[in-house]
Amino acid sequence: MPVSTSSSQQVYDSLKAAGVRLISALPETWLVHLIRMAEDDAEMTLVRLAKEEEGVGVSMGAHLAGVRSAMLMQNHGFLAAVNAIVSGAQLYRIPLLMLITARGSFGERDPWQTEGGLITEHVLDALRIPYDTIHAPADVARKITDAQTLAYSSSRPVALLLGRSLMWED
């Protein structure tokens, strides 16, 4: 499976360095290594979800309890979580760090991913969620640190899109 192990490791190491100790996730192809890394790490609490909106609640609880968290999901999972983000994380000013795989962009071979790829950034804009896309492994550490910093200083959700050139090797 050509999901980048080295990029996944960089993302994981950056989350750990940022103090993240709880990760909620729903599996998706590009996230397989990241989820396994979280599962194999005794210092990390991994919460496997049935649907992404649960993860917003889990992160809200973790934040109020004093634990730094992150959500790992596909962009379609982000779309499934929108109400929780608005009426949970935004209403209650939670610094929610979302890592979202940017499926459906240039290079996408799965026809079923293409519609979501067209609208993900527009939805992020409509929700006034600050976001950036990570394309290069060299940017991973800095962008994750910066995203989390803004999440905490603004007490709001932020998103990092994980791009194809970062996560997929073919």
Binding site: L22, T45, V47, R48, L49, A50, K51, E53, E54, G55, V56, G57, V58, S59, M60, G61, A62, H63, L64, A65, G66, V67, S69, N83, A84, S87, G88, L91, Y92, R93
Partner: protein, 194 residues
């Protein structure tokens, strides 16, 4: 059984140091506040369905705390998948109480699927929640709640209540005031645990 009376009967449990409470919006939040707000109470005034998800987030983050979630039939029906997440991690410090009035009371009393036979305790059991039960009488509820608090095992308890509630759901406690005070309270419990 009226939900307000049920909450009043178990209120002393909720005052214990190290116990934290997360409620859904609407009548449950307003009625608990009417009995006396405390800094260990958090009212999730929107994001329907996610009270139990917040509960597991707190319970897994802080195993030393006892987390009580007051859910409702309408809210839980919006997040049935969350029961499988509760069951997967089965935090031993979480008591999940579902007040079931078979109605979406706060939006006009429309009947939910529990009014046509869907059984939330059986759904929780089938999801894998280790302790599940349904109670219908006030004394039985008070006993069962005490048992669940002492059990040290994840419990989902369905409490059949009348579809009655307060006249208004808006209180003078702002959402963010509640959120920050609750966060500070949880931090203070960690900083001085005794």
């Amino acid at each position: 059984m009226r939900r307000l009376d049920a909450l009043a009967a178990i209120y002393p449990f909720l005052e214990r140091r190290g116990t934290v409470v997360v409620t859904i919006m609407g009548a449950v939040a307003a009625e608990l506040q009417s009995l006396g707000h405390r800094p260990n109470f958090f009212y999730l005034q929107h994001a329907m369905g996610l009270a139990s998800s917040m509960g597991i987030g707190i319970a897994l983050s802080r195993p030393e705390l006892k987390v009580v979630v007051f859910d409702g039939d309408g809210s839980l029906l919006m997040n049935l998948g969350g029961l499988t997440t509760l069951a997967r991690y089965r935090p031993t410090n979480l008591v999940h109480v579902v007040f079931d009035n078979e109605s979406l009371l706060s939006v006009g009393g429309f009947p939910t699927a529990t009014s046509t036979g869907s059984d939330l305790a059986e759904i929780a059991k089938a999801a894998g929640v280790p302790r599940t039960l349904t109670v219908r009488e006030p004394d039985a509820f008070t006993r069962a709640f005490g048992d669940a608090m002492a059990a040290g095992e994840l419990t989902t308890m369905v409490v059949k209540v009348e579809a009655v509630g307060p006249k208004t759901f808006v209180t003078d406690l702002s959402l963010l005031e509640n959120r920050y005070a609750f966060q500070r309270h949880l931090a203070s419990l960690r900083d001085s645990p005794t």
